[in-house]
């Protein structure tokens, strides 16, 4: 039943772009129909998830025919259900948002195409998470990846969009190829392609499969150093697409890692420790690079890398726990990681949507050109603030709950484990703290520079509140952030079901999630915090107020240009990490007694894409162009190639003969 529901939802989603083909390009009916169909899809997904979580047994659905002798099946288990809900629910919110943000009337040239792409993206996402067979998985994976490409390049008339799209496309293909390799190896080692637990497999093959799949999934998830596509794609896609990308698309990479981990027998400890280290690196570098960014969406994109890092830390420590038989660590690590998947989807989606409404209102995403938006877009500002607090992992919102679980997992590991695993866990905890601190600094910077203070440019001064269609999805996401933060018990069942289908032994012998996760007291603390802050605020605001200019130590004629900019705000930390980040500084120095105007600007190129991959690609392209010399148009040389080939081949054949 739940598999059928999921398939129905996926079908609805895939079809969501098609009604719009029947009406004029700039007619709003297409947008509405797409939102409606995606809404129905989300309902299907919710129903399917609910059925699974409530424990209704489900039989997988199969294609009625065999493909190359393989029975291609789909089915929904707890883990699938956990990912299915955001996969189908999130695009619905994005499509509602796009009613105003990317309406057919405003963008008749690309709205249609984007609707189609978003529909297929949703369908692909859904298919990946419910696939029970390699073929279905890969098909869904590629549909998702390609549809995402079309979504990213919706505004392909811009050069940088095309470039970002191409980088994405190359990366996603690399990831698909790695997965194809993994499945091929899986088949070679076990003789089947189904995504069911593999009873026995050589450990070398198991490691190879997991490594290949891990490369593929890490590319999609955007873990450092495989994150190269992520910032560009997120920054250049339409904002609601960025929200979907960051909210669900990159999470599919996490789903894949978790799914493959559950598929294979417990890995050697080094596997989990490696993921943990990878996660820590992603988290630190992601947030450090985010600090140096000047563009709102690119900054948010680097935070996605950071959060993927946190998730991977959870997965890593969970897998270490699984390998060594520590159930509590496994539950806390993986549970925290999975919960963070949801949470990150919620708050990062919220942040991207809010960023979109700032861009919608002012036409720019340059942080240093904005300012003072809280008075022009008060609701958006509130939502962004919720998202910012949540993403920093601060109580009383949802980000805290999941980070707490991950951190608890690490703390348990640092107490219970021995040897090098213990040391890794011990190192990971302050890393997590550092990441939290940096993230808070970064979001204080963004929130302050964009929404608070005075508008720095006329464009920023012309801002206006977003239309209702954009506000509702944000409101829904913000409410969800608060709900999970204040009442994490809400997700207990979904999370438990996901964990149990990850490792059936947990259901049999492990402690319950509710026993190890202090949800009750967290919930009480969160509620107390909200109530306390409200009470203090009420107490303080009791007194009457007068309005005046900003005092600013008595300097009464401040101009908006004098405000502390985002770049200055971050410069302290960026300078501190300069040895690792390789910041590019462009400065006109101050010299002489009466110096002229001076300028200082910083640029933070991506370490992997801009400093390694692109130069290498350019070098390779030059080398390959040099090889073109072989095909110069001279027929004589072509005939000579044939002659040489014959001779060499004859020699080879002769050599074989001896």
């Amino acid at each position: 039943m739940s598999a059928a529901l999921a398939v129905a939802g996926i079908t609805l989603a895939a079809l969501s772009g098609f009604p719009g083909l029947a009406v004029r390009r700039d007619h709003p009916a297409g947008d509405r129909a797409a939102a409606l169909l995606l809404g129905l899809a989300a309902i299907c997904a919710a129903a399917a998830s609910a059925l699974v979580v409530s424990g209704t047994p489900d039989a997988p659905l199969a294609l009625p025919w065999l493909v190359l002798g393989e029975r291609v099946t789909v089915g929904v288990d707890g883990l699938s259900a956990f990912f299915l809900l955001p996969a189908l629910g999130f695009p619905f919110l994005a499509s509602v948002y796009s009613l105003a943000y990317y309406s057919a009337a405003d963008r008749p040239r690309s709205a249609r195409r984007l609707r189609l792409a978003l529909g297929f993206l949703t369908a692909g996402l859904g298919t990946v998470v419910i696939a029970r067979h390699g073929f279905a998985f890969l098909a869904g994976w590629e549909v998702m990846a390609l549809a995402a490409f079309f979504s990213i390049t919706a505004e392909d008339e811009r050069e940088e969009v095309r470039r970002a799209g191409f980088v994405y496309l190359a990366c996603t293909r690399a990831s698909t190829l790695a997965l194809i390799g993994a499945f091929a190896w899986l088949h070679a080692a076990t003789g089947r392609l189904t995504l069911d637990a593999v009873p026995e497999i050589e450990s070398a093959a198991s490691t190879a499969i997991f490594a290949l799949a891990g490369i593929g999934f890490a590319l999609k998830a955007g873990a450092v150093p495989l994150h190269l596509w992520l910032p560009g794609a997120h920054a250049n896609a339409p904002s609601h697409v960025s929200a979907v990308l960051s909210g669900v698309l990159i999470k599919v990479g996490i789903y894949g890692i978790v799914r493959f981990a559950s598929l294979l027998p417990p890995l050697p400890v080094a596997g989990g420790a490696g993921i943990l280290a990878l996660g820590a690196a992603s988290a630190v570098l992601g947030v450090a690079y985010a600090l140096g960014q000047h563009e709102l969406k690119r900054l948010l994109a680097y935070h996605s890398i950071e959060n993927i890092g946190i998730i991977l830390m959870g997965v890593g420590v969970g897998l270490v726990g699984r390998s060594l038989g520590y159930r509590e660590i496994e539950i806390l690590g993986l549970g925290g990681a999975l919960l963070h998947v949801w949470n990150h989807a919620l708050f990062k989606g919220l942040l991207f949507l809010a960023a979109g409404s700032v861009i919608h209102a002012t036409g720019t995403g340059e942080i240093d050109a904005l300012g003072g938006q809280a008075r022009r877009l008060p609701r958006t500002a509130l939502f962004f603030c919720v998202g910012a607090v949540a993403i920093c992992g601060l109580p009383p919102l949802n980000g805290f709950v999941s980070e707490l679980l991950v951190c608890l997992g690490l703390l348990h590991a640092s107490v219970s484990l021995h040897g090098s695993e213990r040391l890794i866990a011990v190192i990971a905890i302050p890393t997590l703290a550092l990441v939290g601190g940096l993230a808070a600094a970064c979001f204080a910077k963004v929130f302050g520079s964009v929404f608070l203070g005075e508008a720095r440019t006329p464009a920023a001064a012309s801002g206006h509140e977003a239309p209702r269609a954009m506000l509702w999805p944000m409101a829904a996401l913000a409410l969800a952030c608060i709900a999970i933060g204040v009442a994490p018990q809400l997700v207990l069942h979904s999370l438990g079901a996901a964990l149990h289908s990850f490792d059936p032994e947990l259901a049999a012998s492990g402690p319950a999630l509710a026993e190890v996760a202090p949800f009750g007291l967290v919930s009480a603390a969160a509620a107390a915090l909200l109530a306390g802050a409200a009470a203090v605020a009420a107490l303080v605001a009791r007194r009457p107020a007068r309005r005046g200019p900003t005092w600013d130590c008595g300097y009464a004629a401040p101009s908006p240009r004098m405000q502390y900019t985002a770049s200055s705000f971050a410069s302290g930390l960026v300078d501190l990490f300069r040895w690792a980040l390789w910041t590019e500084l462009h400065a006109t120095g101050i010299a002489g007694t009466f110096p002229g105007p001076a300028r200082l600007s910083t640029h933070l190129p991506d370490p992997v894409l801009d400093r390694m991959i692109l130069p290498a690609a350019r070098w390779l392209a030059r080398a390959s162009i040099w090889l073109r010399w072989l095909q110069r148009g001279h027929l004589h040389s072509y005939v000579l190639y044939i002659l040489i080939t014959v001779i060499v081949a004859l020699l080879v054949a002769r050599g074989e003969f001896r």
């Binding site: 073109r628 095909q631 148009g633 001279h634 004589h636 000579l640």
Partner: protein, 213 residues
């Protein structure tokens, strides 16, 4: 009979050298034509006794390869009034040396392959291979399109010599089909050369390097 065949083959080899050594296009074409004649003669010499069918085929080879095809090529040559030299990339001396090398290699190669006793003394296999290699030399060192057709023709001639050993295995129709194919190939190439002459006002060569990379 084997002596007659060997004599014909020696002439064949000499024609190879002549082809590499001469600078006149017309002479090169005639060389190829003469080889075609010799081929027909060799065919008759080997299988003429086996029946009417073989005689017909031998005559067909001689007339097509020896007469018709040179005619086509000479016709293509006539359509262009200027520059009837071969214009090789390498000097004629080097061409001849290459030819000698090719012949030597062919003999060596034929030695390494086991031959049936009937052919062991005969020059059939070495001549065939040497001619094939000569065809390649003409193809790779001569500038003009027309010379390359001749090179192809020489290559084919070499292969046909080898085919002489296998008459029994070939149905008549297949044999005729092969011959027809060669004829058509040369015909089509001739047509193309004529078009090249018309488009580029030359027999082609350096002009034909527009398509690259």
């Amino acid at each position: 009979m084997s002596e007659v065949l060997n004599l014909l083959l020696v002439i064949f080899l000499l024609l190879n050298f002549w082809m590499l050594g001469t600078s006149r296009l017309r002479a090169v074409i005639h060389c190829a034509g003469a080889q075609g004649m010799l081929l027909g003669a060799a065919y008759l010499a080997m299988h003429g006794a086996s029946g009417l069918r073989a005689i017909a085929l031998g005559l067909a080879i001689a007339s097509i390869k020896g007469v018709l095809i040179p005619r086509i090529l000479i016709g293509a040559l006539r359509s262009q009034p200027i520059r009837r030299e071969v214009e090789p990339f390498v000097s004629f001396t080097v061409s001849l040396l290459l030819g000698a090398l090719a012949t030597g290699l062919a003999v060596l190669f034929a030695r390494t392959l086991p031959l049936i006793e009937a052919d062991a003394g005969a020059l059939l296999v070495p001549t065939s291979l040497a001619t094939v290699l000569t065809g390649f030399i003409v193809l790779t060192t001569r500038r003009k399109a027309l010379t390359q057709v001749v090179g192809y023709l020489t290559l084919e001639n070499g292969i046909f010599i080898f085919g002489l050993t296998l008459i029994e295995a070939m149905p008549f129709l297949v044999e005729a089909g092969i011959l027809l194919d060669v004829l058509v190939a040369v015909f089509v190439m001739g047509v193309v050369v004529e078009h090249i002459v018309r488009e580029f006002s030359s027999l082609g060569g350096d002009e034909l390097t527009e398509l690259r990379e």
